[in-house]
Symmetry: C2
Subunit: 180 residues, 2 copies
């Protein structure tokens, strides 16, 4: 059971796991998160909270966009920052900035009542100078390394999975799950 | 016992409460906060966490700067936003913006093992167009209504207390505490 309030995430999760022969259901639920510097800690706590409500094995994710020039901002608060200042706010903060390195990091936590297992995926890249179409969240301004398209443009071409931090984390989960 | 990892807050708390005849000690401790839209909820949970560690009546605070044009950003994540993009980041986000209304909101929670009591203080104002000296955190860019000085400048003049959201919340706490 993938637990999240973001259906876009579920679509990506389902696409990656289904191709590996894993069927994952979706439970739309907002879980209160803790404030922490660690995506892993946030994901672990979320997985326990979700399990305690559903009493079924759960998979949750916490992810964030970490921009070097902004000392890691928006990081673990990416969802909140997207909702308030959005892509245009990020571009304004980077106006005139040449070194626009950033990373998208995803941590999945799987919990079945014993102890949570975490899986991390990371994609390096840079922030575009304008908002481009496609995708959701910060997809429209993030260009992964070895690429000239944003996550949003790759999403439209159905190629985001090839570069996605989420896919990298899910591939680790998939491997672990199928051998355990 | 005032529990916080921010000694600047303690100085302000002590100053206000001491003048009301309340002696408050300082315990420097970082308490993990939850991510929530509600300062009250964050403060309540923090007070319970602090009490469970110290087993003594505790007072904690959560505060934030809410900027209208930025949909309330940085709000409940003010400490994190200050550490990453700082005052200069906020000014960059407001470049060219004329309506610069903002509020500083403070919520104190007192907990002695029964149920938490909360006290809210709010100061309306605006964001300056340049960073000015004095104070700490976002003090250097916040000008309270009916004033031409920032919180930082007022702090230097020992007049911040007259306008402070924190004082307003503490005055409510003081009144309640002394009658209970």
């Amino acid at each position: 059971m993938f637990v999240s309030s973001n259906r876009n995430k579920y679509k990506e999760v389902n696409s990656v796991l289904f191709s590996g022969g894993i069927v994952v259901e979706y439970h739309n639920m907002q879980i209160l998160e803790m404030q922490s510097n660690s995506l892993k800690q946030i994901a672990e706590e979320k997985s326990k909270a979700a399990y305690s409500k559903l009493s079924r094995p759960v998979l949750v994710e916490d992810d964030g966009l970490f921009i070097d020039y902004l000392n890691g901002f928006p990081g673990q608060y990416s969802a909140y920052v997207y909702k308030t200042i959005g892509n245009s706010g990020i571009l304004k903060l980077l106006e005139g900035v040449l070194v626009r390195c950033a990373s998208f990091i995803s941590v999945f936590a799987f919990y079945d009542g014993k102890s949570p297992y975490c899986f991390l995926g990371k994609t390096h890249g840079r922030i575009s100078t304008a908002i481009r179409k496609g995708g959701w969240g910060f997809d429209g301004i993030f260009i992964p390394d070895r690429c000239d398209s944003t996550f949003g443009e790759l999403h439209q071409l159905k190629k985001k999975e090839l570069f996605s931090h989420r896919t990298k984390a899910l591939d680790k989960f998939k491997k672990w799950y199928l051998t355990n």
